[in-house]
Amino acid sequence: MLKTTTIVVGAGHCGLAMSRCLADRSIDHVVLERGEVAHSWRTQRWDSLRLLTPNWMTRLPGYAYQGDDPDGYLAAPDVVELIANYAKESAAPVRANTTVTSVAQDERGYLVQTDQELWHARSVVLAPGASTVPNVPALQGSVPVGITTLTPVDYRNPSQLPDGGVLVVGASASGIQIAAEVHRSGRHVTLAVGEHVRMPRTYRGKDILWWMDAAGLLDERYDEIPDLIRARNLPSMQLIGSPDKATVDLNSLSQLGVQLVGRLVGIRDGIAQFSGSLPNMVALADLKLERLLDTIDGWATATGFDTDGPPRRFAATAVPTHAPLTLDLSSGAIRTILWATGFRPDLSWLDVGVFDRKGHVRHDGGITASPGLYLMGMPFLRRRKSTLIDGAAADAADLSGHLAHYLDAN
């Protein structure tokens, strides 16, 4: 059996940020990675995907973007290169192609079984990636045969889809990006819209994330916001990182010709059923955006920040007057269904009793009830930015501090 003080599971940006912080504290550790560094970005991302955050926000412990395009958005291969370089520069003790098959508690810490060897560590940091396993609703079982179904993890580009109509289920970042791209390939796209977070790419001459960063919104802490359950379950922002800084929202998709329908709520006898709640879904998102812009404008006024443009408001989202409530999936009009219905981490190998009844790890800002066991990279783990690359530094600093204290005390 091999021994170390701390095992970090996952060599994405979170695991590597933690590794850097552990090294700074001279805590002996290894980083176990099922594939190569940045595995998800190598194997699970569609061709056109770029980071949703601008390059200047690509900040990790001991690293900041130095390139000549601070306002651009990295393409997936560039993200892989960046994370790989970060691992190299940090001399992170990564064991690649090592799949963790079990993490279990023993009296002195944790036993970590991999497909290569057995490890013992006093503490474990879980950095499995929040967007690893695509969620697929149970009603997939009712999809008529002959319709191709896939998730954003399988999707690469429109050419892999059969000709014919596509139903994209979900209108968060993945859903809106893929809906726009598939529509441009000449296929008719129907987009099923539930709760979503409308977001302009730029506002008053700056990236929207610049404002959220500057005004402190991304630093809001998990223990200081009124409704943490809601904050942790918010869908991703409707953003795309394209060189032309385009905003993709429901209005722009409608103008392209994408058919908006309500949330997919059932499939019965081959008929897809959509919720009649679409008008309220867009009203909620429009109002939420207004509140965000009010906050930003208030901050700009209070700080006297001189910007490129005056406050403005975006047109209300236009709801189709008679969005269809049903769609006959056996008619041939739909050939593909793409489930853009969110992701979850893969923690199927974690044999420690820290799960709630829904299968999520219970934690207090990344600190689980199992001493020495930590979690990173989940929505609003410690801050609003916890799932952004830019959020890893602060979370890793906090959690490595807690971990060091735990090691000292035991």
Binding site: E195, G262, R263, V265, G266, R268, Q273, S275, G276, S277, N280, A283, L284, L287, E290, R291, R357
Partner: protein, 186 residues
């Protein structure tokens, strides 16, 4: 009246509701409710429904009294009009549900309401229920709710109340989404 000096009082005990939500974290099973009504045919299209016990918070519960409702159809349908139609009860339920939500959310958000009124209209093509046109559905083709709200809040805050009440409304959900329904003979 309690002696607390909260400025806002819409008559909703939000603390109790939030307390219930917190209790669910430890005992999720108490969230399982079962609502019931019984109905007896009186004659013609007239029936009488009675509502009293329900199950929730882990035990049988009762209303303060047994409520009864007459259901009938109007004279224009050659019926006796001993009560409102079933479809009108649906509108009553929607209005009651959304308005209770508005009051509760306003209380939680510290918004004093002075008056809340809504007009609820449903469009209904009765070709369907009369079996006169198989392509027309039996139910409503659309429902419109129009609120007039006087409150100590900005127009956007009032809009947000109305939007959030839809998001958290049981009857709105029941109307906008499909539900499994079984009807059997015992």
């Amino acid at each position: 009246m309690t002696t607390t000096h909260t400025a806002v009082d819409n008559g909703v005990n939000v603390e109790a509701l939030l307390g219930a939500r917190e209790a669910l974290a430890d005992t999720p099973e108490i969230a399982q409710f079962r609502w019931r009504t019984t109905v007896s045919w009186v004659g013609g299209t007239h029936s009488r429904s009675s509502v009293d016990p329900f199950y929730g918070f882990g035990e049988e519960q009762q209303h303060k009294t047994t409520f009864t409702y007459d259901v009938d159809h109007p004279l224009a349908f050659a019926a006796q009009d001993n009560g409102i139609t079933p479809v009108e009860y649906v509108l009553v339920a929607l209005g009651g549900c959304l308005t209770a939500g508005i009051a509760s959310i306003a209380q939680q958000r510290g918004i004093q309401l002075r008056s809340v009124k809504a007009t609820i209209e449903a469009d209904h093509d009765i070709h369907g229920i009369l079996g006169a046109d198989p392509h027309i559905r039996n139910g409503f083709s659309g429902v419109r709710v129009s609120y007039k709200i006087d409150a100590d809040a900005t127009p956007d805050q009032v809009k947000a109340l109305v939007a959030q009440s839809q998001k958290r409304s049981a009857v709105y959900d029941i109307l906008t989404n499909p539900t499994h329904v079984t009807v059997e003979l015992s």
